[in-house]
């Protein structure tokens, strides 16, 4: 939600954020279904830990520039006020259209 891709101007993340398709348990269950069936529980747990270590953080997204800045939580207020002040004269354009997105 509210990602850079849908034109959010500034994206911050806490160091504790987890930005991924799904949680480690679910993802490991899908990616290693065959291997898990063949091994015991400790194998699965090791894979979950490995996945969490690698992906359950904001840094994969930050490496891509999807996140502008990973911030220390204590600076949330000044960061937001500074960003809003930067954007107060923001201009953007959309194509001319007949109607907006359809009502759901």
């Amino acid at each position: 939600m509210a990602s850079k891709h849908i034109r959010t101007d500034i994206n911050f993340a806490y160091p504790t954020a987890e930005i991924a398709v799904m949680g480690a348990e679910g993802a490991v269950g899908v990616l290693f279904r065959r291997e898990i069936a063949e091994h015991d529980e400790s194998y699965r747990k090791a894979k979950v830990a490995e996945f969490e270590d690698k992906f359950a953080n904001p840094y994969i997204a930050a490496e891509r520039g999807f996140i502008d800045e990973v911030i220390e939580p204590k600076f949330t207020r000044p960061k937001l006020i500074r960003a809003l002040s930067l954007l107060k004269n923001k201009r953007d354009t959309n194509p001319q259209r007949k109607h907006g997105n359809i009502p759901l």
Partner: protein, 350 residues
């Protein structure tokens, strides 16, 4: 090597690469897709477009992922066939997801291919038709795959009201794969083979302890009759594609064009005696509004939209004197035609 044989070998190489790309995830998987009563991605495009008019883009695109062994598994085209072609002589853009490649999970490059044709469609003012058959995000790619979805969503919202966007759901579509079709203008689903849900019955069972079948949760009739997300329920892939072709004949290619004019032999001064007697004398007596519509429009032909949803109101397209018209009608034959919340469906048509 002689210069001409060098050229020959390069042309042979192109043909080889091209043939390999057309195999998608392999002949064995393509056969499996056919055996389950479904067409393959390329068969769908060929059936949908006027014969021999498909121009393909990005046939050799492969994903860029380096994780989970994906780097050893690359299929040219990356699970989606994209390009443009003609429907009744009019230009349209089309993408068809190929279930034989990674269960057609959406990768960064897969999304880039779709975005490319959407951008071009908005520039030239032509409809975008999505032939969807996707399991969702490519988990191995993580946030990059999700970013790809968001790129598509942004274009869905920007293109809305600029060019028509039509989705055919031709297989089990789950997770990220269903948000985009849900915000396009029209959705065509196939009974018994297509599904739209955020997550399948297994996860519902785990989370809410409810037993629900795939059909109840997100089958063609659930979305046609209950949620109103879908507008047409087709009997087969072929039927869904024929409906989409016909739908296009009633709508303009963009916000500045007119819909196609279709000459009719139905005289414009034709008076229909039957119309004088269809509406009953008593206001309490129901009748079928479709009888009136049929008596009025060209050749009595009414192309109904959302036939199964909110039966107290009837909507669809027809032609009057060759010009396409949208019809919104109260239906006295159901709930005495009173309007309730489900008439939000007409807002879509308007």
């Amino acid at each position: 090597m002689k210069p001409e044989s060098k050229v020959k070998s390069k042309i042979a190489q192109l043909k080889e690469r091209s043939a390999a790309a057309e195999e998608g995830g392999g002949l064995k998987r393509l056969e499996k897709q056919r055996a389950s009563g479904k067409m393959t991605a390329r068969e769908r495009i060929d059936f949908f477009l006027d014969d021999g008019t498909f121009e393909e883009f990005d046939k050799f695109v492969v994903h860029r992922s380096q994780d989970f062994g994906l780097e050893k598994e690359r299929y040219p085209g990356d699970g989606v066939v994209t390009g443009h072609g003609l429907v009744d002589g009019r230009e349209v853009f089309v993408f068809a997801q190929d279930f034989t490649v990674f269960g057609v999970s959406l990768s960064e490059t897969h999304a880039e291919k779709i975005c490319k044709i959407m951008d071009l469609a908005m520039k030239v003012g032509a409809p975008v038709i999505g032939l969807n058959d996707s399991g969702g995000a490519r988990i191995q790619e993580g946030v990059v795959s999700l970013g790809g979805y968001a790129d598509i969503f942004l274009r869905n919202t920007l293109a809305s009201g600029v060019v028509p966007q039509i989705s055919c759901i031709l297989g089990p579509c789950a997770g990220g794969a269903v948000y985009s079709p849900a915000i396009t203008d029209f959705n065509v689903m196939v009974k018994d083979t297509s599904y739209m849900f955020i997550t399948g019955p297994d996860v519902i069972k785990t989370v809410t302890h409810e037993d629900v079948t795939k059909d109840e949760l997100g089958g063609a009739m659930t979305h046609n009759a209950k949620s109103g997300v879908a507008h047409f329920a087709a009997d087969s892939d072929e039927h869904a594609l024929r409906i989409t072709r016909e739908l296009l004949s009633f709508i303009p290619s963009n916000n500045l064009d007119d819909p196609p004019f279709v000459a009719t032999s139905d005289p414009s001064d034709r008076a229909d005696e039957a119309l004088n007697t269809i509406v009953p004398e008593s206001a309490n007596q129901p009748y079928d509004i479709r009888d009136i519509i049929h008596g009025v429009v060209d050749e009595a032909y009414f192309f109904e939209v959302q036939e199964h949803f909110a039966p107290n109101i009837v909507i669809g397209f027809a032609r009057l004197g060759g010009r396409s018209v949208g019809i919104v009608a109260n239906q006295p034959a159901f709930l005495a035609g009173v309007l309730d919340i489900d008439i939000r469906t007409i807002l879509r048509l308007l």
